[in-house]
Symmetry: C2
Subunit: 354 residues, 2 copies
């Protein structure tokens, strides 16, 4: 048995790998699991592949959340990419860069969340890599999924509706709350409200959860494509403004959205108003909502809305795709203005972010 209170430098790489390997179950369709030079799985149909990393100090801070939640989110952001292609996530490999002075318990708790989320999504952890680093923790996951008919960024046509699931802005509000000292406990309970009073508890909790433990609609994209209810899709990870632009660029159309139709998260809006804002910037540019942004043929919108009701997923038509060079317009006072791209961009300092 490994000593959870020891540091990685004390137990060493091989004991850590043995410990993790013992924790990870072998799932269905896995011919060779962890412990060989490579894993081997049986794939049918198209194989989807994506990779997304979480870097300490950039995507998370250790003091922000229990390691379990970091593990859950590292998996979720990859699940979201597969789901946005209308695929079903199947297998993943987990690559960790860890500093030697880290406690074994941190890695163990990270895996608590990772394996919990994998079980929820019916995904097998089939391999990985562990290396030491002198820098921040990196959790890099590559996810394999299965697809038949895909939902791509290309395919939106002029006349299609711009449809988004869930609400927007809560994750970005959650990020702001974390910077203001609010904290979530390991099981998703509220551990600290930061600068906020108890009367804001429900809103703080909702936004922290949206940031730290996002819940993308993992099955919706597939249902939409099977019933021919969608022409194109993307997950809202960088922010609505840039992600909608990606669909426009790949589909060679423009889009026009109406601000009053935006499903701004009411809790995020409330917190924003309390600090003199209105939640629009959070919803338009905040990112990390991991909701689905879809080009829906106008005549199928009622069916999409109906499916949303059955599955209890909020569905909002926020505008339409139109002929024109790739660009997103927003209606303001009767006219349509180009929406500036103001999403987070890696490598820029926070001050230099647009």
């Amino acid at each position: 048995l490994i000593d959870l209170d020891a540091r990685l430098a004390d137990v060493g790489e091989r004991a850590l790998i043995r410990h993790l390997r013992d924790r990870i179950p072998t799932g269905p369709n896995v011919v060779v699991g962890i412990g060989d030079d490579a894993a081997a799985v049986e794939c049918t149909g198209l194989t989807l592949v994506t990779t997304d990393a979480m870097v300490e100090g950039v995507h998370f801070k250790r003091e922000w959340a229990h390691p379990k939640l970091i593990g859950r989110k590292a998996l979720t952001v990859n699940l979201s990419d597969i789901a946005a292609m209308a695929g079903v996530a199947r297998h993943c490999v987990v690559s960790l860069c860890l500093p030697p002075d880290m406690l074994v318990a941190f890695v163990d708790e990270l895996y608590d969340g990772l394996l919990e989320r994998a079980a929820e999504a019916n995904v097998n952890v089939i391999g990985g890599n562990v290396t030491s680093t002198s820098g921040p923790v990196v959790i890099d996951i590559a996810m394999l999924g299965q697809g038949e008919r895909l939902l791509r960024r290309a395919g939106a046509a002029a006349g299609d509706l711009v449809v988004v699931t869930g609400t927007l802005g809560a994750a970005a509000a959650g990020l702001r709350l974390l910077r203001q000292g609010a904290r979530l406990g390991p099981d998703g309970d509220l551990a600290a409200t930061g600068i906020w009073t108890d009367s804001s508890k429900a809103a703080v909790l909702k936004c922290l959860r949206a940031q730290l433990d996002p819940t993308p609609p993992l099955a919706l994209g597939r249902a939409l494509v099977e019933e021919e209810m969608a022409h194109a899709a993307i997950d809202v990870s960088d922010g609505l403004s840039i992600d909608l632009r990606h669909i426009c660029e790949e589909s060679n159309v423009a889009a026009r959205i109406a601000p009053d139709l935006l499903p701004i998260d009411p809790f995020a809006a409330g917190l924003a108003r309390a600090q003199g804002g209105d939640g629009f910037d959070l919803a338009l540019h905040g990112g990390e909502d991991y909701q689905l942004l879809v080009a829906v043929p106008r005549e199928r919108y009622a069916d999409v809305a109906g499916l949303g009701q059955v599955w209890n997923i909020p569905i909002a038509a926020i505008g339409e795709f139109i002929e024109g060079a790739p660009e997103v317009f927003i209606e303001r006072g009767g006219a349509a203005e180009p929406l500036p791209v103001a999403a987070y961009e890696h490598f820029r300092t926070r001050e230099a972010q647009p």
Copy 2:
């Protein structure tokens, strides 16, 4: 066009991704390449999956080699894992963590090597991720391969010969040379001999190349398994002592090797002798040789050796697998002693390495 002399902080994430995307060709069997939420590929047979990362300061230093060679090696270490399973590498995703003050040229040159090696190995780069980091550069690759009959770590039987390809110890000698100031240029030429004189040029060059641009026998494992010439295999990445032990553990056998049969790299041995050593430690524990260590049924050894001659791959039988609890023994003065595991272990300080 991107400014190669600019820093990542100046050009930003999206311009970098556009630049890289434009450079990467779309290969065969790729249904969806770079630029969507996930890539989609057609896989047949068993799909092999592996992941291996290179971390600055742990696996490489920027001043040691041209970025092109770092890109080549990041791909090669993953190719080696797929090959050791008797698979054929097909597709990969590349995840980069990069500091904002890095020059665009570094990433571009890294990709020069990565794409060059991918083309040599007929591998498609189908996706990736770029994130900023406050710490060291991380190049994390997940590789997909195709397999039919696999060569696993399990399967070695008592009586099988312990067979290794190529020579051992040159990569570890190369690492020592780098610490002594020797350097390789971008095209594999010798850029500096460090503390060594010109008379050692050939040896320095050979060992630096083995460390910085390894050349695993990528097709051999597959040929061996197809002709039933091998029971088990692993690539020598951590070091012969530990990697042979891995086969023993997975196969539930012991192994006994003879030091005089070890194919110690003659250049590495020469350099070691010049510094008062003998090259044995480098060959036994040095690692990063990326040669194939194979359990060969005794009656097929002549065929394996013959194949090695045809393909110009040195083949050496260095001992045999024997009944017993998983352990590696080395013959010394007529007796067999347990071989201590002395390979590099992540998280330990260099002083605490066994």
